[in-house]
Symmetry: C2
Subunit: 560 residues, 2 copies
């Protein structure tokens, strides 16, 4: 039994209880407070981040054939001098796979307790570096600091722990041994001793995205490490630092425990190198976790050398507005969901289906245009204060998103135009564009338009909106859906429709909870039941096939 | 809560305990005894079977466009008049998928308890019809009666129950609802009520094999039914009756419980129709369970419309003989494994690796030829009594197997020739052919040679044998391996080598337990870790991805 395992056992036990109950629980505090993380943590985290800039990122003992790195902070991109200047060790696909394979036996042969203990220690150390990570995530994804801290730090760590708990839970249900005693009547018993062991799949590739470089990677990372697989983390070339820090921490803990650091490798690359494809085609890669576009997701599912591919791809999320008791609060809630990280979340709504004849809101009739104006005004209000606007909307990760916003202006009637948050500022920003279209303009709203783009779609009635939203989710994928409705029958019908389409539904959200939010240990993130992804972070199915069980058996000594 | 569920709850609970402990347990008695099944059960089962012959098999309400059926009993095949003459209702692929889809909503919306209760009742009724099933399996697979009863009846039922228990276990860990209470300090709590539901995958295709028409199908059948999927059972065209009886029983129970019988459909076809391919290419088929050749298995994994394909394919099983304390008992044990159902088991050994310079057996040196002669003599001894021979070896399911035996004679030196059990008998039979080859004759022993064909392979030493056997398993697949060795170090090394190759290993089997045997609730059948199959019957991974979980959530009344 590993001492790291014993040291962190209480955290694991709490996580195991949490994944059963799925109420609120978290292991890593989400508040970036000095009282929790230490009064100097914020300043030290910033200093640590800044020390990485314009220099070589060292990963002791990591395979290295060259140095790469071309990250640019979206928060400085408009100023023309946002280059982070960090140079990472890089190596060819074959060499990285070889190193990963060379580390495999030692990791596979480590006990489950040893592996899980090491994972828990990695998470604990990552948690202590949450401020450094927040800066790394902020300056690669463009998230504002509060979100970068939460989503990049404690929330990502929670997702990692959640997957770790599922992996432990599955593995501990396999007995190490059993005595099989088969009665044979007068012939006596046949007695066999059986021994089982967990056998990992092998080298596992972890393909990250730019917008949530850690949150979307930690479930796969810790599921794989716990189950004995080695991991090659291939971050998005525009967001390497968060996973480089993660790999650094993991390798430190591995080395301290006398295990090969190459159990966790970094595949850093320049933009456009396309290493993900080469890894996926490599016969030595046994599993792939992927977050990114549906286009490459489809390629991976069809062409990767291994069939074991877990994906979170894109989808088109919808809100259906049937009616509300609190029009202002509804508009404010939706405005926040549209503005948060400028719509660059896989959970952000894109389509807002509103009855053509309007809705009833607190006993009052609101026309389609009233609803449109209400939401637009709520966005304006939310973003009126520049400091708050920056803290909510952050920056645009990828310049392509600005082009999409520009194109989307032509889709229909502009209800609210997009603009930079601060035209003179250093950050690449864009506030939500809201365009009104009719339900007949299917091309306008059925395509995924990633970024601060919302389509207000005029439908016959709420049922028409639910039907269109659910049907779209079924065909194109969706990770979230939301409904505002005062009718219990309408709510239950929508729950059925969205369940059938494999989408998680949020109903009548007001106040400080948003459709975008997916909480570890409670919300199963992605259903795996529509094209937005073929797996869930995290559930039994996410972990149970990452290892196999092999037995040897022989007659028990007494029975030979 | 369904009364069927309550009625069978104790069986389920025992099964749940068994899959955790994996010692000996069985729900359905394997002894075809009148004391257990009723004194008239044997005669009634035979009569029921005979009543099906030369007539229409009725499945009330089943879609039917034509009648098909061309089964021939391998036990009568040599007499030229073994045709069963049973005509089954058959329909086109599209129509069957449509009927399955039409039944889907009612089944998906039935509670988990209702579905599991129905599955348990189906199993209980199948158990009561075990004698009828034994005759059906015997006269389609060619198994002798004792095996047809056990493998076709109670052992298959145990496998079905095992998968059912795993499915229940996974589903009951998803809470129906939870209250999520997130503290917000002075701002008070955010309180959400969350509701989860199990969403099935959809129409599931179950492609059976001729040799074990029920045993290899029940795990997938009950895993799918429990998790809310509808099932189209497509048996091998040479072994329809066992699954037709299964479908009949399932439909009876469904109808009695007010659910659509079309939840379970039969896809009967004439030999050569190739419906499996058409089903697999149908966009409406969401999952596939398959047992059969690696050739079609590979096609399915690559070309089926759905990626959710669970396979048991072929492999090359090996025994490595390093040494033994009991030469005679070893030879007898191996002889039985080679002879049982004439080697037509996915678990039957094909290659026997023996050191070129012989082995130590009970302190005595046995040359390679001594070992060969010992095993050959043991086969002769086992099959000397015609009644016992027939009861062990059964008949050859497919005439192609006889052709393979004939070809295999040319592979090397014949140690023991194959011959019909009874040249004048009605059954198509062939006793084990044993051919000696050298380890350098890789083409002779690396190919799968399904049937009563054994290759005695001369290797440098036991370690060479283990290395070759494990390497072959890794590349071509294997479901079982066996080792005879008196050295504990040799045993542990072999356990490591075969584990790495993903093969279950049996060591020093003597007496009444054989490498071929795979016991439900204890032996995980197929590891899924080498090309002999991509899944295991049954474990969490076998069931956890057959359903998805979808949520809806809203603010709790008190917190709005």
């Amino acid at each position: 039994m590993s001492s790291l395992f014993e040291q962190h056992r209480a955290t694991l036990d709490s996580a195991l209880a949490a994944i059963r109950e799925r109420g609120f629980w978290t292991a890593y505090p989400e508040v970036p407070s000095g009282k929790i993380y230490g009064e100097t943590a914020k300043q030290e985290g910033l200093a640590s981040y800044e020390a990485h800039l314009n220099g070589d990122f060292e990963l002791p003992g990591h395979p290295e054939q060259r140095r790469v790195g071309a990250e640019v902070s979206p928060l400085m991109a408009a100023s023309g001098d946002g280059a982070l200047g960090i140079r990472y060790p890089a190596a060819d696909v074959d060499l990285l796979v070889e190193h990963s394979q060379a580390a495999a036996a030692a990791w596979a042969n480590a006990s489950v307790e040893t592996r899980v203990g090491i994972c828990l220690e990695i998470l604990a150390r990552l948690n202590r570096r949450s401020f450094e990570m927040a800066n790394a995530v902020m300056h690669t994804s463009g998230q504002a600091f509060p979100m970068a801290f939460q989503a990049g730090g404690p929330h990502a760590q929670d997702r990692g722990l959640e997957a770790l708990a599922y992996a432990w839970d599955e593995m501990q249900r396999i007995p190490a041994s059993a005595r099989w005693v088969k009665p044979q009547g007068k012939a006596g018993d046949i007695i066999m001793d059986k021994h089982w062991r967990i056998v990992p799949r092998g080298v596992s590739l972890l393909i990250g995205c730019q917008t949530f470089p850690t949150w979307n990677s930690y479930s796969g990372l810790f599921a794989n490490l716990a189950t004995g697989n080695t991991v090659i983390a291939k971050p998005h070339p525009a967001a390497i630092l968060p996973m480089a820090l993660t790999v650094l921490v993991a390798r430190e803990v591995l080395a301290e425990q006398g295990l090969p650091p190459d159990v966790v490798l970094l595949a850093a690359e320049e933009p456009g190198e396309g290493q993900a494809k080469a890894f996926a085609e490599h016969a030595g890669v046994a599993q792939i976790d992927y977050t990114g576009s549906s286009h490459f997701g489809q390629w991976l599912r069809q062409h990767a050398a291994t069939p074991l591919v877990y994906t979170e791809e894109a989808g088109v999320n919808s809100i259906v507005i049937a009616g509300t008791d609190n029009f202002d609060a509804m508009c404010q809630n939706i405005a926040f969901s549209l503005s948060l990280y400028s719509g660059q979340m896989c959970t952000a709504p894109q389509n807002l289906f509103v009855p053509r004849d309007g809705i009833m809101a607190g006993g009052e009739r609101k026309s389609f245009d009233d609803v449109a104006a209400g939401i637009a005004a709520a966005v304006d209000g939310l973003l009126a204060d520049p400091a708050r606007a920056a803290a909510v909307a952050g920056a645009i990760a990828n310049a392509d998103t600005l082009a999409r916003v520009a194109q989307a202006r032509a889709l229909g009637r502009i209800v609210r135009d997009s603009a930079p948050l601060d035209a003179a500022g250093a950050a690449r920003t864009a506030t939500p564009l809201i365009v009104a279209v009719d339900a007949s303009d299917v091309e306008a709203y059925e395509a995924e338009r990633f970024g601060p783009i919302a389509l207000l779609v005029a439908v016959d009635d709420a049922a028409d909106g639910v039907r269109r939203a659910a049907d779209l989710a079924r065909r194109k994928g969706a990770i979230t859906a939301a409904l505002y409705d005062t009718s219990e029958a309408g709510i239950l019908d929508a729950a059925d429709a969205f369940a059938e389409a494999g989408v998680n539904l949020s109903v009548n959200l007001l106040g400080g909870i948003y459709v975008n939010q997916s909480a570890a240990f409670s919300d199963f993130h992605v259903t795996g039941a529509n094209p937005a992804g073929n797996a869930c972070f995290a559930d039994s199915a996410f972990v149970a096939n990452r290892f196999r069980v092999v037995m040897w058996r022989r007659p028990a000594p007494a029975s030979v």
